[in-house]
């Protein structure tokens, strides 16, 4: 019997081996071929605590910190330890009800589990922090955790400095290698974004082991994989914070932008984009609220107009046309033109000129004579030696590019626009291959297809001031501890204009000085300083409807050894001489004389500050938005009212808070619903958010009180 079954011992051995091989196969699959288990184990057991370094500080040219760090506090909860907490007391301090409390606890548990801490209330206001700090003993399971927050002590240069925000998934995908994690903050705009690498410092990571309930068990491998955090490096700007503040003040209630450059270095002295906002509004607890109100503002305060908007440069472009005309030899300094009201060269009576008379280059610039520059431009494009307008335009463009026009300058700020110096292909498309100079004659006076950013325009002024060279405009002068990422070397390269003799610039300087002394910019002289300037007034259209002209002014001063080149632009403000020119002159005076002391000039500051030049279309959009908001508010109040009525018959108690604090809205547009609803009171708890709503409307501009504070700061 047993002999008969001997072979079965083989079978049994084979069964044993087979099953063991199957097991080994699965082990091979689990341990060798699939990496997901390793990753899951990592996320199970390793807790990476990121040690955040302090971000770098940003200083202005005098060494004043204009962007620094402060500490704010988060209220942090560990849900598993809150059994003893005095919930009611906490709720009353935070101004929430118990159902909201429970909801937040639940959210914290869902987000981070019961055993780990999560933020319960972020970025406490100082008052709230003080009240909580006194009472913390009542709230076991809660702690106040420090969080570094950016602070802008001068409340200025919002668009230049930029702001931080939490990274989103798109950002994480783009910057996969740089160690960002969900919940990290990164610079979103301005210098915060451009110099993120420098400012952020190096994060430290501490690795901890944690158990199945998320409790920390100790450091991983004795901390041998931990890294230390090193603080971010500080930036020293060429920006002058006082100039920046004065510029912002002068641009109150105007839409436009100012850029001033030190022509010797290319360092930007101020960069104003108006309307601006108090940058501190985008750091604190109400960041989101402020952001959305800024975001929907029809005046687009979040756009940096100095770089992110392009405009036709208008007559300020004539200076460039004049220089190129001299360089190409189509005119000389003594060439004259007589204008009888319009430019006759193209036969359609365009462009017109304002002052009739006979002009040479100097007086043509001083009086901004359209006819003169149309002639120059036409001659430039009709030069026989280049064959046709196509090649002649290419030559012209080469000059224009060498002034930094038509391409991105490469300033150290994100989202710079490149402007436009039109190519012949555009005209070929429009007018066929036989197009002629008359097709694009309006470029001669900076209208037409020519587009520049105001920074480019300021750079043109600097180039003219330097008689033919410029450094790429930039904000950051030096980086603490050296330029490790090689970010500043592009700003140490001197750019020369295309083969233009300095003497040609001399002629343009004469004209620009004339502008200030007897020409279009006479109203904008600076006492005691020889300023060279050029006004511009630019026709513009919105959806085909002609709007009020944009006002431009470009200038540099003093004429000899210029120290400041400036470009000012006010949207829809009319003549360049009436708004943009005085602003430029005040800024030049402020910068060169360090302060404005003459009472007459001080009065001028006040006069310009009080000018309200908000474009009509924006005013209309704002009014629409306000009334929409009011209607929504009224509807919400009505609904609340209904709810209160439904729930109980109580009600006639204290007078409405709404009447006690009249909201800053124009009474004439208030919908009728509003006057009736507030009579009945709702609960005070519900009113609290409404008060904040009314505060929010003023978020756009730093209010006067703050500005005064800043001035005090200056004197110190």
């Amino acid at each position: 019997m047993s002999v008969y079954n001997q072979s079965r011992s083989r079978v049994i051995q084979i069964i044993f081996i087979t099953i063991l091989l199957v097991i080994i196969g699965q082990l091979l699959n689990l341990q060798v071929f699939s990496s997901k288990y390793k990753l899951q184990a990592e996320s199970n057991a390793l807790f990476r605590k990121v040690m955040y370094p302090d971000r770098g500080i940003i200083y202005d040219r005098q060494g004043r910190a204009i962007l620094e760090n402060t500490i704010m506090y988060d209220l942090v909860i560990t849900p598993s330890e809150i059994k003893q907490t005095d919930t009611l007391a906490l709720c009353s301090i935070l101004g929430i009800d118990t159902s909201e409390f429970r909801k937040r606890v639940l959210t914290a548990i869902i987000k981070n589990s019961r055993y780990k801490s999560s933020v319960f209330e972020p970025l406490l206001t100082p008052e709230l922090y003080a009240r909580l700090n006194e009472n913390m003993y009542k709230f076991p399971g809660f702690v106040l955790a420090e969080r570094p927050v950016r602070n802008y002590p001068f409340n200025t240069a919002a668009n230049v400095l930029g702001y931080l925000a939490e990274v989103d998934t798109g950002f994480l995908r783009k910057h996969r290698e740089e160690g960002y994690e969900m919940g990290d903050y990164t610079g979103m705009t301005g210098l915060e974004r451009q110099y993120e690498k420098v400012l952020m410092g190096t994060r430290g990571v501490k690795q901890y082991l944690r158990d199945n309930k998320g409790r920390i068990q100790g450091s991983f491998q004795g901390g041998q994989y931990d890294t230390m955090a090193t603080a971010g490096k500080s930036l020293h700007l060429s920006l002058d914070v006082e100039l920046q503040q004065l510029g912002e003040e002068l641009m109150t209630n105007k839409v436009g932008t100012i850029v001033a450059i030190d022509p010797r270095t290319g360092g930007i002295l101020c960069m104003i984009s108006s309307p601006t906002y108090n940058p501190n509004y985008l750091t604190g607890p109400d960041r989101r609220k402020h952001f959305s109100s800024l975001y929907v503002d029809p005046r687009t305060p979040l756009v940096n107009r100095a770089l992110g908007s392009t405009y036709s440069p208008g007559s300020t472009f004539k200076t460039v046309v004049g220089v190129i005309g001299l360089a190409e030899g189509v005119i000389d300094k003594n060439f004259t033109i007589t204008c009888n009201g319009y430019f006759p060269g193209c036969g359609n009576g365009k462009p017109k000129c304002l002052d009739k008379g006979t002009f040479n280059l100097t007086s043509a610039i001083a009086h901004s004579d359209n006819s003169y520059f149309a002639t120059v431009y036409k001659r430039l494009l009709d030069q026989g030696r280049y064959g046709n307008a196509d090649s002649a335009l290419k030559v012209f463009n080469k000059y224009a590019y060498s002034f930094g026009l038509g391409n991105r300058l490469g300033i150290d700020m994100p989202s710079e626009r490149k402007g436009n110096i039109p190519l012949s292909s555009l005209y070929e498309k429009r007018y066929g291959s036989r197009w002629v100079s008359c097709n694009c004659i309006s470029n001669a006076i900076g209208q037409g297809e020519v587009l520049t950013t105001i920074t480019q325009l300021a750079n043109v002024m600097a180039t003219i001031a330097n008689k033919g060279w410029y450094y790429t405009p930039h904000l950051v002068d030096s980086i603490e501890g050296g330029d490790k990422f090689d970010m500043l070397s592009p700003y140490r390269v001197k750019h020369q204009t295309e083969n233009i003799s300095p003497s040609y610039f001399e002629a343009v300087h004469n004209g620009m000085q004339g502008v200030m002394e007897y020409g279009t910019g006479a109203a904008a002289q600076v006492p005691g300083i020889v300023v060279c300037g050029k006004t511009g007034t630019v026709e513009n259209y919105d959806h085909g409807v002609k709007q009020k002209d944009h006002a431009f002014f470009g200038a540099f001063a003093p004429r000899d050894n210029p120290r400041i080149a400036i470009a000012v632009m006010c949207e829809n403000a009319g003549f360049g001489a009436s708004s943009a020119a005085p602003i430029a002159s005040l800024l030049i005076e402020k910068y060169l004389k360090d302060s404005i002391t003459d009472p007459a000039r001080k009065a001028e500051v006040d006069r310009v500050t009080k000018l309200n030049l908000i474009p009509a279309k924006m005013l209309r959009a704002m009014a629409t938005q306000d009334s929409l908001k009011k209607v929504k508010e009224a509807l919400r109040l009505l609904q609340e009212q209904e709810a209160v009525k439904d729930s109980a018959g109580t009600g006639e108690s204290e007078p409405s808070e709404f009447e006690a604090n009249p909201a800053p809205v124009k009474p004439d547009t208030a919908p009728p619903a509003k006057t009736t609803t507030p009579k009945k009171s709702s609960t005070p708890v519900k009113k609290a958010p409404r008060k904040q709503n009314t505060l929010k409307q003023e978020a756009v501009l730093p209010n006067n009180e703050e500005r005064n504070n800043n001035r005090n700061y200056k004197r110190v």
């Binding site: 047993s2 079978v11 044993f16 081996i17």
Partner: protein, 448 residues
Amino acid sequence: MATYQNKSISEGIDWLIVGIYAILVSIGIMCIFMVEYKPDTDWLSSFFSGKTNYSKQLIFAGVCVVVATFILLSDSKLYTAFANLLYAFGILLMLATFVIGKNINGSKSWIPLGGGFNLQPAELCKIFTALALGKYLSQLDTDFTKLKSHAIATAIALSPALLSILQNETGLALVYASFFIVMYREGLPGTILVVGFSFGVLVVATLVMEPNLLAIILTLIAGAVIYFLRRSIKRDKGVLIVVLLLWVGCVGIQRFAVPYIFNNVLHCYQSQRIYSMVGKDYDCSLNKSAQKMSERDKVAKKPDDYNVRQSKIAIGSGGIMGRGFLKGTQTRGKYVPEQHTDFIFTSLGEAFGFTGCVIFLGIYALLLLRIVVIAERQRSTFSRVYAYSVASIIFLHIAINVCMTIGLFPIIGIPLPLISYGGSSLLTFTILIFIMVRLDADRQMVLR
């Protein structure tokens, strides 16, 4: 006298088995140590304090050495003489659990012994059943070619299994299936194993596939078989009937029997575990016992696949070379439940990786194959049957336990032989192995 005794103990003993046994027990203690280790405690003193599980296991190992020595000192004839008696005693103990049993982890299969020790008769019964089966098969009047003796042998093997199921110890009951391997060796027709295997395939297929699709496939197979056998069918209509009956049987199992078992026989959590193994969800509302539970207004326990997932993560994170001794993060973080008992393999897999696992399984393979070699060199049927029983029991334990930790088998509480923490289990395997070593030492004798 002493020298004589020494000689008689060591004579004929297979030291290879003893060596492998010692290695495995040491690995076991090391694994438990890895699971329990805390970096900030003085492990040396806690090793001898007797309070931690690894030191307890060390004590159990000491007890086992004593027991093993006694077994080696005993007379082989003892085991044939007492086989049936012990078996009866074992069955009695198992029955006794229904009366005086203690409920541990939901199964009423333990008899409290006092002093915190509990005895699980089902564990001991494995030994007794092995002995009893050997005894029965080695009887001169047993002709194992007969159906009757098949039935008796099966009854001997499966009665403790049945009692185990009633005690809610499915895992232990499953181990008794190992006796079929022994019976196969002794002449049980191979077709029974094949049929059993096919049944298993059918059940798994039922779980994995759409019922209708599977029915179609079965029908197609039946059709193909009829087509290929059409000649023999012409000669003998009986073949056709057999094929059709098989077809009806398979479809019946697939359509009715398996769902019936899952819904009415098994508990909700058992069905869920089996379904989760093939990567599917089981709807507990179909389950009878769950319905009964919810009728009693109790929410039926709904365990997910947390255990398997964590176990697979721990093993998978080991990689090729492992994380190293005491460096397993999953083990340290206690992510795997029951890691010192049923899931002990995970700590090994994490610390020593694929290489360690292969070496470890190699040691097991060596043990199993060595036992088969030992079995085949016995003169007496009793010893051979017993040795095969030992090999099969150990094999089934390993296969089920390891497959469970790597997600190839539903989770069933069954220890890894000689490795898992637990005195009962360690003692059982020690006795099992050393009785075999004792019998092997007397392999020239014919025991009946």
